[in-house]
Amino acid sequence: MAVVDIIVAAYLVGIIVVLGILSTIAYKKQVERGEITE
């Protein structure tokens, strides 16, 4: 796999991590507010 592919993959994995953290916060906030049950 070319170096540029690795760089773009790292960019996308970084986005996955950021979205994962934000999604987890969103889930916990909704549980706190009682909008969803854990």
Binding site: M1, A9, L12, I15, S23, A26, E35
Partner: protein, 491 residues
């Protein structure tokens, strides 16, 4: 430069016209992403048909025909003949029954809210990778349109990003549906206008192309039924697997379903949508195969640029402009659809739940538009440095594949949360393994990551659901609830 002016004028004019018209019709911020149940069957059909019809049906086939001839058309034939009817007759109406606003919400409704975390983090990154790939295609078309006079990076890439934004910024899904209505017609008519013109331009018509390939012992290039292993394992099986089990989890496919008046409006377009989706691939392959039969073009270019070379060689500027507008219709409908889907999921499934009551109508609308701009910019950023990303393209598709397999099994058969979690995690590991460290013992035709990901995901889905207890499939539960409600009304 006439060609590029035609293309830019077309998208600016219709983008602003439809943008302003649709903006007036938005009754609330929710309308921006869903057009709230107001589209009839024709608008739903055009919007859905163009959503998966991007580089895969056009620029990718132009490149592949150089090695496989016209048999690469099976990509378009099977996408339109299998995927479009299956989605519009079943998958789309199923989603409508769930009464949710995004695909992650649908998965959450089946397997519990925590699984949304996986979907809202993995899938948008995969969609962004696809939007990046389409943006690269748009940049290349703009570069060819300008005859190579406009620098590819950053000018062509930034112009591609701007066109993506213009397509959806003002009116969101409603604007995209208006654009797609006219673009579906331009895509087909523009493509075939080019085919007719070249047929007239060739001294002996298209018979010249067949005669040329027969004379060099490569008559298979003009044979649609040339089922070589490369065609079967590189085109026919991948197009069905990728579309039915991966593209079906892309939220961009479900936005037209959310916008549909009712389930009938979704189903009505199944046949015509399939025909349009299939037909859209034909002009580019015919022109590509023709270009490679002209020795002066074939010797000076690659398959990827063959149609552009033929157009510059044989067509007047006005026709090059129309042909390129047709190609941009395909690429922009897909990339802007992906960008709108990313913006929708991030806004409604991540930011809105975090802010809760702090978000009112006006701030939701403002945030929605900003997310469109941010997602378009995120798709452009790598395109400034990269010109091709084929291996990653399949990695992105494979990110979504297990998500849809779990959803599919949960809808039609059985719901077991633990089985779904195990399936998603193991399939993700296999995807990373196959993409970044493909084992040496793997046969070349199975090196694309979606083969092992599909096998692991579907195999695990069936085995785990057989050995673990679970609830009834969602469709059966919805049916029972409907009968219960009908019974209550009767009583």
């Amino acid at each position: 430069m006439v060609a590029i002016l035609i293309a830019v004028f077309y998208f600016l004019f219709f983008g602003i016209l439809f943008g302003m018209q649709s903006q007036k019709k938005l009754t609330g911020s929710k309308d921006f992403f869903t057009a709230s149940n107001r589209l009839g069957w024709l608008a739903v059909m055009c919007s859905f048909t163009l959503a998966p019809l991007g580089g895969g049906h056009t620029t990718s086939l132009i490149e592949q025909q150089a090695a496989m001839g016209v048999s690469v058309l099976w990509w378009g034939i099977l996408a339109g003949g299998v995927y479009v009817p299956v989605f519009l007759l079943w998958f789309g109406p199923w989603f409508k029954k769930l009464k949710v606003d995004t695909f992650p919400q649908a998965l959450g409704k089946i397997f519990g809210p925590k699984i949304k975390i996986v979907n809202t983090s993995l899938a948008p990154a995969g969609w962004l990778g696809i939007a990046m790939s389409e943006t690269l295609g748009i940049s290349t078309v703009i570069y060819c349109l300008g005859g190579g006079k406009i620098p590819y990076s950053p000018h062509c890439v930034l112009l591609a990003g701007l066109l993506n934004i213009i397509y959806i910024l003002l009116g969101g899904m409603l604007q995209a549906s208006y654009m797609n209505l006219i673009n579906a017609a331009v895509l087909i008519l523009g493509g075939f206008l080019g085919v007719i013109y070249i047929g007239q331009w060739l001294p002996g018509g298209y018979a010249d192309v067949s005669t040329y390939y027969a004379s060099i012992g490569e008559a298979w290039r003009t044979n649609l039924f040339h089922f070589s292993p490369e065609v079967v394992f590189g085109v026919m099986i991948p197009v069905v697997l990728l579309h039915v089990f991966s593209v079906s989890s892309e939220h961009a496919m479900y936005q037209p379903m959310l916008a549909a008046k009712d389930e009938d409006s979704i189903r009505k377009g199944a046949l015509l949508g399939g025909i349009i989706n299939s037909l859209a691939a034909f002009p580019w392959v015919i022109l590509g195969v023709t270009a490679m039969s002209i020795p002066s073009i074939a010797s000076s270019t690659t398959g990827r640029l063959s149609v552009a070379e033929l157009a510059l060689h044989a067509m007047p500027q006005w026709l090059i402009g129309i042909l390129m507008v047709a190609l941009l219709c395909a690429l922009l409908s897909t990339s802007s659809g992906m960008i709108l889907a990313i913006a929708h999921v991030v806004t409604d499934d991540i930011i809105k739940p975090i802010l809760g009551d702090k978000m009112n109508e006006a701030s939701h609308m403002r945030l929605s538009r900003w997310m469109v701009v941010i997602a378009a910019a995120a798709a452009c950023l790598p395109a400034l440095k990269v010109t091709l990303m084929m291996a990653l393209f399949f990695w992105c598709f494979s990110l979504s594949l297990p998500i849809f397999v779990c959803y599919f099994l949960g809808m039609i058969w059985k719901v077991n949360r633990r089985a779904a979690w195990i399936n998603l995690i193991l399939s993700l590991i296999v995807n990373f393994w196959w993409t970044f460290a493909c084992p040496s013992w793997c046969p070349p035709i199975f090196r694309l990551s979606f083969y092992p990901v599909f096998a692991v995901s579907f195999g695990l889905g069936i085995i785990l659901n057989l050995i673990m207890p679970g609830e009834k499939g969602m469709l059966r539960r919805l049916k029972e609830n409907k009968y219960m409600l009908q019974g209550e009304v009767t009583l």
